[in-house]
Symmetry: C2
């Protein structure tokens, strides 16, 4: 019998436990696939005395050296999450000539280029299918299946927590706060939800996908980022009336040779595939010069879907169908400033209810070349202090972000405009 494929596991949380379960539970099937047995040599944990949902016949260790320096370890699987110590451990594993499989979106988004360069220098592979879209094959397709394409656009719903919250707000009429609380109770949102609701998680994933799609590093802090905390029930209702649903979209597009990357709540057409992605599901739509449009849909997170991606990477490395480090730097790309965005917009305003208000607003927009696509004004609403007011919802034809932001700044200072309730972009 050939020597087992040695796997050292860093981390035994939700994902680590899932990976261990699969490696133990599917031992025979994996051996048939890979041609030799897979063996977990040891698992790095913080507290070995903590009760675990999985009984492992392998030593739990608290010192990473026990794994990194073990010659029986061929592949290090990093499922600790977070930036440190994960980043350092990955680099140390590479330095010792070990392949790495990681589910770590933060590390791959922030340090992917450095890690992949280190791996290339040591002739090892770093595979990170699990870092984006959990059980949905995305990194693999980008690296292999779509390799003949010039990718022109990647548009995704890549954060299950915010998609769950927006879906609940749409379906049950819940407020953002109530939907968030519900998500937290169900374990879909963290006690501190910032990473999800402020769209950091989505920005990490978009940076990874954009780097792959356009063959040049895109850093998470270069991604224009707006979370969903400002999305109100009113926005969702008006959007529905206009035939749209509100989704947190992560968008990377090639525009005139520049790459535009942004994550923000967007109005998507009710009949579109992206609009039907509900609850904790994810989807990524890709456009390429040859394939036209394709979409990948599935569970974006969770122990088992993520374990599926980690183990697929292990199988690929074990059968030396190595994927991961191979990343063709096709061309350097320039990032496009957000002010250059051309988009349709959705604008909700609370104004005083008096003659001339609509004309004043329309003039501000028209003067900046912003053309109206639709206008909805319902019967009066009541502002503070019993002042009668009006809620006006506008959508525009394609306009420039710079012009729209300038118009918003002007509107905010007009005495008849009480509040700019929302400014959302319409995805087409």
């Amino acid at each position: 019998m050939s020597r087992p494929l040695g796997v050292g596991l860093l981390g035994l949380g939700t994902v680590g436990t899932g990976v261990a379960r699969v490696l133990l539970g599917k031992r025979d099937a994996l051996e048939r696939r890979i041609g030799r047995p897979v063996q977990i040599t040891s698992v790095l944990v913080r507290d070995p005395s903590k009760p675990r949902g999985v009984s492992l016949e392998v030593p739990l260790v608290t010192d990473a050296r026990a794994i990194l320096d073990d010659p029986a370890v061929d592949i290090v699987v990093e499922v600790i999450g977070g930036e440190e110590p994960a980043r350092t451990l990955i680099l140390e594993a590479i330095e010792r000539g070990k392949h790495v499989v990681t589910a770590n979106k933060e590390v791959m988004a922030k340090h992917g280029p450095a890690i992949l360069a280190a791996a290339a220098a040591r002739s090892v592979s770093v595979a990170y299918e699990a870092s984006v879209g959990g059980g949905i094959p995305l990194i693999g397709p980008f690296q292999l299946d779509l390799a003949a394409n010039e990718i022109t656009s990647v548009v995704g719903i890549v954060n299950g927590t915010t998609n769950y919250i927006l879906t609940r707000m749409t379906e049950s009429g819940a407020s953002f706060a109530d939907a968030l609380r519900e998500a937290q109770e169900l374990g879909y949102a963290e006690p501190d939800p910032t990473n999800d609701v402020e769209a950091w998680d989505a920005a990490y994933k978009l940076a990874i996908l954009a780097s792959l799609a356009f063959g040049a590093p895109v850093m998470p802090e270069q991604v224009w980022r707006e979370g969903i905390t400002q999305v109100s029930q009113r926005d969702i209702l008006y959007a529905a009336e206009l035939g749209y649903r509100i989704k947190l979209l992560a968008i990377a597009r090639l525009v005139n040779g520049q790459v535009e990357t942004r994550v923000h709540p967007s109005l998507v057409h009710q009949g579109s595939m992206l609009a039907s992605v509900d609850g904790s599901f994810n989807a990524v739509q890709v456009e390429g010069d040859l394939i036209g449009s394709a979409l990948f849909y599935g569970r974006g997170a969770g122990s088992e879907p993520t374990a599926s991606a980690v183990v697929a990477d292990l199988i690929a490395l074990g059968t030396s169908a190595a994927r991961g480090s191979r990343q063709a730097a096709r061309h350097a790309v320039e990032l496009r400033a957000m002010s250059q965005l051309q988009s349709r917009y959705f604008l909700r305003l609370l104004t005083l209810d008096r003659p001339g208000v609509m004309a004043a607003i329309a003039t501000v927009l028209g003067d900046r070349g912003i053309s109206l696509a639709s206008v909805v004004q319902k019967e009066s609403v009541v502002l503070g202090d019993d002042v009668p007011g009006a809620e006006i919802v506008l959508t525009t034809h394609v306009a420039s972000e710079a012009a729209v932001q300038d118009a918003i700044a002007t509107l905010r200072h007009m005495p008849v405009v009480k509040t700019v309730g929302s400014l959302l972009r319409v995805h087409e």
Copy 2:
């Protein structure tokens, strides 16, 4: 400079022209990806004097030996289509130690096991991503990304022609005949549409996907097959009223350890992802023990999407990330007889309009343990010879195919039943 990767192209029809265009037009990008240039050594055509839409700087040949016996050819790309001579040429290429990339669903469905065995014996790869779903990555994900999963179900819309026809029937109220004629005028359907509308094409693709998913050969003639020629405008209208759309689904499922494979028109819920797959688009939904549900969507045919898949296979072979032949025979599977199917059904009947008819029909169903989920009977219709009739549409709860077929046989012989208009299955 390293020796070019030599590609011999068999066939220069729609797909072959697309492949040649990509290999020539993306020469530099491909060289960067693969690490050496790709060169089309020669192209097998029937008539070298025929005007082509692509100018090739390579010899056109009419004798396959010129390609098969050329030591400069590393990979033979078969894009002739049809069973012969494609099958023979693929086997001869393998025999001569050449890798093969093929877009041929008929050959892979009927002879895949023999071809893959021959390739394994000669240690070459046969890659066939382009044979199913054109530009949608499917074979790759099944072989690599989903490799850790036990696949339990594959449900797809895999034929663009029939999907276009059904979409037009739904959207414009066209009859089957009119929608078919329109598809033929647009080049979406062949002059002889049998292969598509009788669902042979879908059965080939399902056989390939089921063989991959369940690790055991499924032959196209083992697939239960019903085309769409019997789907009427009435069925589409009633289905819509009940909240469904009619799609030609290709379904392979693992049921009690047996594999059930069938292609037939099905009612799918209007809100589901599969229901939003319109026109010539394809989609395949996969269920696995780890990923839960995932869906792949995109263009299922056409010169460029298919070329995308062929060239992705070429890149994988060129970088020796060989995929294709690696096909783990997980376990032998037994095929499930169609009579054992458990499904919900949609039944449309034309009956005489007289007292007791509904009771008689309900009794036939009830006696066989078939429980009704919904009944719709509209105002009278007129049968032939001015006889007043009724159109009754029923859906059932889950029932057995054997019981339903027995009920249908009985209904057909009842004097009050003039016609069994349709029997369709409801997909859940």
